[in-house]
Amino acid sequence: MSGESKPLIIAESLSREYTLGETRVVGVNRIDWSVAAGELVVVKGNSGSGKSTLLSLLAGLDRPTGGRLIVSGWDVSRLSDKHLTQYRRKTVGMVFQSFNLMPTLNVMENVCLPALLAGEPYDAVRERADGHLRRLGMERRFDHLPSQLSGGEMQRTAIARALINDPAIVLADEPTGNLDSRNGTVVMDLLADLHRTDGRTVIIATHSDMADAHATVEVELKDGGIV
């Protein structure tokens, strides 16, 4: 285990560049940054400033083109495919702007999915999913298909799914982008609660200022760098 003072996330000169033919586009550029465990980080910045790029690196969906990223003791920039999968399963949970639920699975099955992929037996997982869903106010929706849910309910399902493997970090990319302000506030409160009650590290990338009140750390990106 890492020592007390050691930050949960350490980025050293972290870069992700895209090459489009001849031209190079900067996603994030030489970021030096660290986040201690248990923080609620709000990442802000204009469109194209690199928020999604940073989150996809943290989520293990993408690999940096330069620098290092160490999360919870894993050197994400150097992990093998196999370990990267382990990392995505154990360490991070992801919430998307457009929910990304499996259209053919119902709420309960969607939530259980990451644990099933990790090889857990269904019955044990169900119990846990049940708890998460109840806590998020979804107890009457277990058998619904995503197409039968409202936007807020879909995002709450997605949050439950992000929690099922009990990750240390929850990442959310514009989680309220497709919601009205009332539902948006509910979702933000729920995410904040994960930080407050469970002591999880939560990182939210957003344009909106709904999250500002909950933030313990706020960073602003501009042209791929932290200002």
């Binding site: 996809s56 457009s98 999915l113 992929l117």
Partner: protein, 859 residues
């Protein structure tokens, strides 16, 4: 017009540009369409070439003749010519005899020798020679100099003959030396048999063949007036055994047979095109689905639903058009092979044709173009209509809708079941003779019915296997089961393509095997015998020429060593319309050594009656063509008398020129007096100690070289070889259909992956490994392929019944014993599954075509 211009600009932006960025997929689909279209086109062109050659030959030989005078099973006395010429109903009359002959001392193919009276024939047929000043001088040469002929250009060229040279020709009787007095040039008779023809004077012909005072037929041009009345009047003035028929009759029956064959091959080749259109459907459906958002945007910007519909429809049509263009070089590769295969099959099965090469028929090209483009366009209708329904407000929606409502699947299943139920009644409907239209319509219905019930089958399968699969094979297999359950009509289309291909495969394997097994049984029982002898060139000349008395005596001299079954054949028309062979055979020895393959009638009770000449047995083909059945009376005028005998049984027979009727040689003798044989088969006696080859050598030593002889073993082998060759074309078409289906599976699986890119990447994001994702795809493929294979097997077994008992009956008049080649089928199952899974490879590679992170950027 700016409207049209705008449409095509939009088409370029919206359809062509994305097509260009998905080249692999587009090319696969184009290749599938091209293969289908190429097979269809080249099969049609190949059969067309045979048909064309047949027509050209017929036109040349028939000329301007209107009616033909002949004696069924015999020859017309030459004396009738004078009577006809002086008849007031007759404007012109010309005696004609033809026979196939061969050049002595070489084994080149036989050619047609046509004997006629050049002067009397002038009004009927037209021909000239290359070097004669006037046609008249060439005619005079033939008449003035006995033993001369004028050769067709191809014949002269093949043999390297020069005018004035002599050559010896062989026929059933004595060989004769001819002198060539000219070569025919352009048009008319020179086109007969593709130029493999020679003309001689009727007197020369009679001297050569020994048929003095008789000719095959007399062609007539009637005096102006009503034909029916003229024919009636003529009939009254002619002897009873002589018949008058329209000169085009032979041409019609030949044409019908080739047409039926053309239809069969067209349908089989259309199957490839049909499977290819599944590809068009999948691609257009994918494009429509993946561009749903763009469609909604277009609609919100003011595009009418009709314009959206037209955009996707034109996409399908464009795929058809490009596929057809791509088919041109592919056809170029296929055509030479098909031309040869088809003309050989037509020659062995129906009528002799010699195809000099292929001629591009504008009509066939237009047909293949229209069919390809129309079928591709039709395949795009449903996805286009779906795209048209995208409401403009969907620009605002976050997630796209998917999944087919239960109700739709239920309706589809019901309709599919109804269709399958309607297959058999439809197949039994009466249709035009020789064309298996009801059978093919039933086949179509069967395919569509199975494609329609496949979503329900997938649903059931997905529902029942996903839970056990999770226990057995883990989460990826479970997810695959769930996906297959809910994929509904999307997968149904590719499953339908697979069902079609597998069903075709299974049913044709069963049919060909049943056919071959039945033919083998027939060959072993009915074509039994150790040695077959006949007069020279008997086979090509339809056994018209009896053996000489010397030859018959020679055979009798060996009767201590072998038992002889004499036979005499006549090529006749029953009721003046059904061509068949009447064969008198020494029944007693034949039935002791061999047997017929009885279908109907009491074989045991009928044999003695057959031996005693108290009845006939008729082949299935003959029964189907004439409607005669057991107990009915068979009637055939023959050389002035008539054969009138009850039908004792119906037997299987697979000789190809129409049906056959057998009766006792003794009965024929009783009717006609002394009868010469046209052939015989010999069974070695156990006491002789000879082999069949020794028997043949003994005959050869004693001067039997003037006969055609073939060992029974070789004859039976040859029949089976011809059988196998006939099905070579079919087998090739079959494999092409399978290949196209594999392309279809590849496209569909890839499409299923591509259109779920978001879901797959979400799975990755929430902790799925790439191995798990690939395993899931593999399971999906496996489930889809197994449903396709299983349904295809069931469909194939049903189809094999239709093929054997309906389509073959309707097209050729015969059926076979139902025999399943289990080993070939057992081999085919893993083969098809392996092919289909190999087709999953591109889908595998497509899984991470878009990096997972990209999904964070897509709204």
């Amino acid at each position: 017009m700016t409207h049209i211009g705008f449409f095509f600009r939009l088409f370029g932006w919206f359809i062509l540009r994305p097509m260009g960025s998905a080249k692999g997929r587009t090319l696969t689909v184009l290749l599938g369409v091209a293969l289908g279209a190429a097979v269809f086109t080249s099969v049609r062109l190949a059969v067309h070439a045979s048909l064309e050659a047949f027509h050209r030959n017929m036109d040349a030989v028939v000329g301007r003749a209107e009616q033909t005078v002949l004696v069924p099973g015999g020859r017309v006395p030459e004396s009738l010519v004078a009577r006809l010429l002086s008849h007031r109903q007759v404007k012109a009359a010309s005696p004609i005899s033809t026979t196939y002959v061969r050049v002595a001392g070489s084994d080149t193919e036989p050619f047609l020798l046509l004997g006629f009276d050049p002067l009397l024939d002038r009004p009927l047929r037209h021909w000239r020679t290359t070097d004669a000043e006037t046609p008249v001088s060439a005619w005079l040469d033939l008449i003035r100099h006995p033993g001369t002929f004028i050769a067709g250009s191809l014949l002269a060229e093949r043999n390297g003959w020069k005018t004035g040279e002599t050559t010896t020709l062989l026929h059933a009787g004595e060989p004769m030396t001819f002198r060539m007095v000219g070569v025919m040039a352009g048009g008319g008779l020179s086109a007969a048999e593709g130029g493999m023809v020679a003309l001689c004077d009727i007197a020369t012909f009679q001297e050569f063949t020994g048929w003095r005072g008789a000719v095959d037929r007399i062609d007539l041009i009637l005096a102006p007036g009503e034909t029916a009345a003229a024919v009636q009047a003529l009939k009254k003035d002619l002897p009873k055994e002589v018949q008058i028929r329209p000169a085009s009759r032979t041409r019609e029956s030949g044409r019908m047979m080739i047409r039926a064959y053309q239809l069969n091959l067209s349908i089989l080749s259309f199957a490839s095109l049909f499977v290819g259109t599944f590809l068009v459907y999948s691609l257009v459906a994918l494009n429509a689905a993946s561009r749903r958002k763009e469609t909604a945007i277009l609609r919100s910007l003011g595009a009418s639903p009709r314009m959206v519909f037209a955009l996707f429809l034109v996409e399908g049509t464009a795929l058809g058009l490009m596929g057809w263009l791509l088919a041109i070089p592919v056809s170029g590769l296929l055509l030479p092979f098909l031309l040869e295969g088809v003309s050989e099959t037509v020659s062995t099965l129906f009528v002799r044709v010699s195809v000099p090469g292929f001629s591009l028929s504008a009509w066939e090209v237009l047909l293949s173009f229209t069919v390809t483009v129309a079928v591709a366009g039709a395949a795009a209708v449903q996805p286009s209509a779906e795209a048209m329904k995208v409401p403009p407000r969907e620009v605002l929606a976050v997630i796209g809708r998917r999944g087919v409502p239960d109700r739709q699947t239920k309706r589809l299943t019901l309709a599919g079941l109804l269709m399958i139920a309607g297959v058999w009644p439809l197949a039994r409907l009466p249709g035009p003779t020789g064309l298996a239209l009801p059978g093919y319509a039933a086949t179509m219905l069967l395919f569509i019915g199975f494609a329609m019930i496949s979503p329900a089958v997938l649903r059931r399968l997905g529902r029942s296997v996903s839970i056990p699969l999770r226990r057995l094979a883990g989460t990826p297999a479970y997810l695959a089961g769930r996906y297959v359950k809910d994929s509904g009509t999307r997968t149904a289309v590719s499953v339908g393509a697979l069902i079609t291909a597998v069903a075709l495969f299974v049913s044709l394997v069963i049919m060909i095997h049943s056919f071959r097994e039945t033919v083998k049984l027939w060959v072993e029982q009915t074509v039994s015998g150790d040695l077959f002898v006949a007069s020279r060139l008997a086979e090509v000349n339809d056994f018209r020429d009896p053996m000489t008395r010397d030859q018959i005596a020679l055979l009798h001299s060996l009767s201590d060593e072998a038992e002889i079954v004499a036979s005499r054949r006549f090529s006749l028309l029953y009721d003046g319309r059904v061509p068949y062979t009447l064969q008198a055979m020494a029944m007693d020895p034949f039935l002791r050594h061999g047997d017929f393959v009885w279908m109907r009638g009491d074989a045991r009770a009928s044999r003695p009656a057959l031996v005693q000449g108290r009845g006939v047995v008729i082949s299935e083909v003959f029964a189907n063509r004439t409607g005669l059945s057991v107990g009915d009376r068979f009637r055939q005028p023959l050389q002035g008398t008539a054969v009138k005998l009850p039908v004792l049984g119906i037997i299987r027979d697979y000789r190809t020129q129409g049906g056959v009727v057998f009766f006792a040689f003794s009965a024929l003798q009783a009717q006609l007096g002394d009868v010469r044989w046209t052939g015989a088969r010999l069974y070695l006696r156990d006491s002789s100690g000879w082999t069949a080859a020794e028997l043949r050598n003994a005959l050869l030593e004693r001067g039997g070289g003037s006969m055609d002889m073939v060992l029974g073993k070789d004859l039976r082998g040859e029949i089976l070889r011809i059988f196998d060759e006939t099905f070579a074309v079919t087998t090739v078409l079959l494999f092409i259909a399978l290949a196209v289906a594999a392309l279809g599976i590849a496209t569909t699986l890839t499409i299923l992956v591509l259109e779920r890119y978001r879901e797959l990447n979400t799975l990755y994001a929430v902790g799925g490994s790439s191995l798990q994702l690939r395993t899931m795809i593999l399971w999906e493929a496996l489930l889809i392929v197994s449903v396709g294979e299983a349904a295809g097997l069931v469909c194939g077994f049903l189809l094999s019944h239709i093929l054997i008992f309906v389509i073959n009956r309707q097209s050729f008049g015969w059926t076979f014993l139902y025999r399943v080649d289990w080993s070939a089928l057992a081999l085919s199952v893993p083969l098809v599954i392996a092919v289909a899974l190999a087709a999953a490879l591109p889908a595998f590679r497509a899984v991470f075509r878009q990096p997972p992170a990209a999904m964070l950027r897509e709204r």
